[in-house]
Symmetry: D2
Amino acid sequence: MSTNKIKHIGVFTSGGDSPGMNAALYAITKFAEVNDIKVSGFRKGYEGLIDGDLVPLKSHELQKITQKGGTILKTARSKRFLELEGRKKALQTLKANNIDALIAIGGDGTFKGLLAFSEICDIPFIGIPGTIDNDISGTDYTLGFDSAVNTAIENIDKIKDTAESHNRVFIVEVMGRDSGYIAIHSGLVVGADAVLIPESGKDFIYLLSKIKDYESEDAFLVVVSEGDEIGAELVASKVKEINPSLDLRITKLGHVQRGGNPSALDRMLGIRLGVAAVKTILQGKKNEMVGILNNQLHLTSFKEVVKQHQVNDELMELLELFGK
Amino acid sequence: MSTNKIKHIGVFTSGGDSPGMNAALYAITKFAEVNDIKVSGFRKGYEGLIDGDLVPLKSHELQKITQKGGTILKTARSKRFLELEGRKKALQTLKANNIDALIAIGGDGTFKGLLAFSEICDIPFIGIPGTIDNDISGTDYTLGFDSAVNTAIENIDKIKDTAESHNRVFIVEVMGRDSGYIAIHSGLVVGADAVLIPESGKDFIYLLSKIKDYESEDAFLVVVSEGDEIGAELVASKVKEINPSLDLRITKLGHVQRGGNPSALDRMLGIRLGVAAVKTILQGKKNEMVGILNNQLHLTSFKEVVKQHQVNDELMELLELFGK
Amino acid sequence: MSTNKIKHIGVFTSGGDSPGMNAALYAITKFAEVNDIKVSGFRKGYEGLIDGDLVPLKSHELQKITQKGGTILKTARSKRFLELEGRKKALQTLKANNIDALIAIGGDGTFKGLLAFSEICDIPFIGIPGTIDNDISGTDYTLGFDSAVNTAIENIDKIKDTAESHNRVFIVEVMGRDSGYIAIHSGLVVGADAVLIPESGKDFIYLLSKIKDYESEDAFLVVVSEGDEIGAELVASKVKEINPSLDLRITKLGHVQRGGNPSALDRMLGIRLGVAAVKTILQGKKNEMVGILNNQLHLTSFKEVVKQHQVNDELMELLELFGK
Amino acid sequence: MSTNKIKHIGVFTSGGDSPGMNAALYAITKFAEVNDIKVSGFRKGYEGLIDGDLVPLKSHELQKITQKGGTILKTARSKRFLELEGRKKALQTLKANNIDALIAIGGDGTFKGLLAFSEICDIPFIGIPGTIDNDISGTDYTLGFDSAVNTAIENIDKIKDTAESHNRVFIVEVMGRDSGYIAIHSGLVVGADAVLIPESGKDFIYLLSKIKDYESEDAFLVVVSEGDEIGAELVASKVKEINPSLDLRITKLGHVQRGGNPSALDRMLGIRLGVAAVKTILQGKKNEMVGILNNQLHLTSFKEVVKQHQVNDELMELLELFGK
């Protein structure tokens, strides 16, 4: 398809919502309008594609809500789109509305869905990585991660006030599914005494060694990632085995990390990736995720996007260092 | 004891910490200094009285930390002070340091301790109500309550972003022990669909009625108080009985509500009550808690201070109204 | 007019906007709906009344924006309503839309407008005091004041960080027109070295005395109210006369104090006053402003509402004390 | 000097303070301690070096204040250090205290001072770029920039509330001296209608063209950088020439942008650069500034560090695009 045929772009948000998605919608729409392209937003992720639930987007209105958390298009996980039947209905929707290209903001599951869809639909699909977990290859930051970390540290700062007032042990659980990014980025910078992430099995040992010597003349703060083999309760039970008399408290920050006004970095990331997504379409490309890698725009083919659990070496070294 | 003999006031924080305690310490010290009285702070509540662990306080330094959450004097619950032996040691500390009067910032348990102490010590004791739960009679606001509610609503606002993006049911648990003040003050003002507090048994019924009709075309937000007969898990289990297919999430805000920079109201309350405490001593009174009732300074004898669970009629009426 | 004829209430916001107005709109609409009354909102204050620019309000939608600063109805100052001609057009709008009662959220000027309007229109008018300046008689708090003070102190806290890092003199100007409420409520609680308000002429003298002795081994923070005979520049020029070598900085917080998410107190105040306004209409009253005085609902006739500049005695005493 | 002789590192903060400096002090001290190196902090920048005003730093204490804005070491500009006489005194201080290496956190002026100092002192000097202006070559981010931008956007978001309530034109001035980074990073992401920076002379023209057509049926937001040839007043005067009847307001955010708790990014940057600074010393290097360029640690010789005014091409393109 030649790029001069692009008259109408569809966009949707899918998977977990994350702060900055609305800023990306603003940028997509603004840049499209400048290029005489109209933009429609599908509601509730793939569900809106299947059901033909779409709304026209105007940059003039989106400009007012760049600071709004969540996604005004709503998001959902779609079982129907996993079936060929669902994808065929989505194709009909695109044809019926003369959609020439499609931009999806979501995680690796979202891009896998587009890849399956591309077997029956040949318009360009472009992805923007949006998830607070920062667990997608091909970009240094995913949309929403920086906001989630800022929310985490603001809340952990509050917990430190009360922990230090009581000389208590606090175990704070942050999000991240199987990735330790939020834990390490929040735990290190709040001055935690221990940071436990899925990537690092030996952490338990050093924590337990530290907590054994702990004299309770000060607060002791543990930041731990959620996860099957980790998480606040598990850590608490191990700590209590070592030192049953500790005055220990647990707080799981939970879904507050998903919401709130996006940080400056996430809003700018949304704007940069939104513009890049439209540009990439205009360059005639398809089935690519736009990302920022080492400060440069970077494209990753949907086939190569993988879920990335591992934090980098520098962070692992810092983690080890600050745990001493 | 004639008031012109007051040369040295002791102060301590006890029970749970709450935002605004440091602002109160500033005001106590500033007003004492203006009256040529020196102030010493006992660390870790009654423990510091027993152990003679005290530090001189200077308003010039406290002035810099009015915005700091928690208490720089630290706080603790003291088992030893429950024993006569402990109180006798505390008396020795007061005598050894020439303390002429004592101000305690804490909850009803703290004041009960002072009452017991007054049987063997006849210097003036004055209390300042400090707890985020707002469950003390004789004052409209306790120190820290307004900050805790503001922390709660800022976090619930974030949860609303993600709840609305997914059309999910969220059950958010706030603090309050057996009091529903935080739940009602935060739940009503964030526009919750239901607010459940210990004081109101019938709430479950109306919630379950609403949730039965819930069509999941929008978010549904429940704010619930912690407590033995209430709390997020209990509510969630009842909701799931009614409607097992709901996409339901729980967040327990936890100890973040105890910390953080105090709100404007709490800092001003700390200043007003801190000055009032010293004034009350200078007026020759003892065994009184200072509070603000209907916008006026109000004294309540320690004997009459009770734990107050019941929210007032106007709030109960609002609760019922907004649950419709 | 008998109350059982109230089927349709009109509401508008007028004068300066203030945080909490949207929460009040939510409460008005919710309580009206429960009483089978519909609500319409006039846009841009009196301008919307004159031009017949109104929108239906639904509590289900307003529930989602209780946290939003400003006013979704927009506000304006209306020259046309000062003329009889304008008020006659407004009357036609009310009749054409079958409006049975009118609620205005605004300041003393707004209520004066309603009083003039009542000469030609006999439906009930009820006012809700909304202004960040807290300068209206008949209520302890005006809607928006607590939010403005919280915004002021959060920003002054930031300025303290840099002031203390440099041992600088900072003069921070806050809003308040001719009232010193914001200055005193923010200045005292951030631990300012001097707080200057219009009500207190002698403040200059004590400030200049303090600043003369100032050795620049620490930060020195002045919080000053805006105003013709006061304000940051005037204070700065006087300070420089006394001590020309001082490293002095000025920051005027400005309109940031008008916006932002309302505080917990302001949202609850909006809800309480919103419900009270509708109740007052249902009780058959008219030309009254609803307020909260000493924690109780209080009505003040529009004729008796006055602009109140004077801070109360307790605050003046605190101001003097903490300036020592 | 062989690195195994490093037993004692001195550190100081110089020039304007910026959020994240305390986190950097924590990291420097922690990593030094792990390597059996003690750390002393000089107070008030070069003044402390000259006067021998130093304090021992302990990571255990610094861990508690990673969230604190400003610098606990205080900072100052030093005229005395510009003279050889002053530098000789500083040399004596270093010798008297057995300082083996020196780390400075500051701007390009700070590093120029170190370069001059290196002529008479041959211990290793390492620099960390700390300034909110982001105007230093050799690093993508300077310490404090991300926090300043976040403070700016939080305040501009508040201003938007009131601007939209009144359909007013607002001109908001942000910091940046001769650099437009804060303006562009804050203005773009809040959805400003125009962003004016020193780097872009033609902006005035497009602004004036837009404002000419402005019908005042909405808010109009301009974000402008401070500077001699720019700034809010100048812009306001030009706008008023074009359209004298506009309801226009100015807010200069001022020094609030310098303070406040550092953002997550700035705390992590402080930690990464703090560790890198000590590592660089241990590698036997000297007279280098550590930075993060394209996500990698990058060293720039003090001689090559320059003040960088120019925003990059991608940002300039975005600026032009979103101004359309």
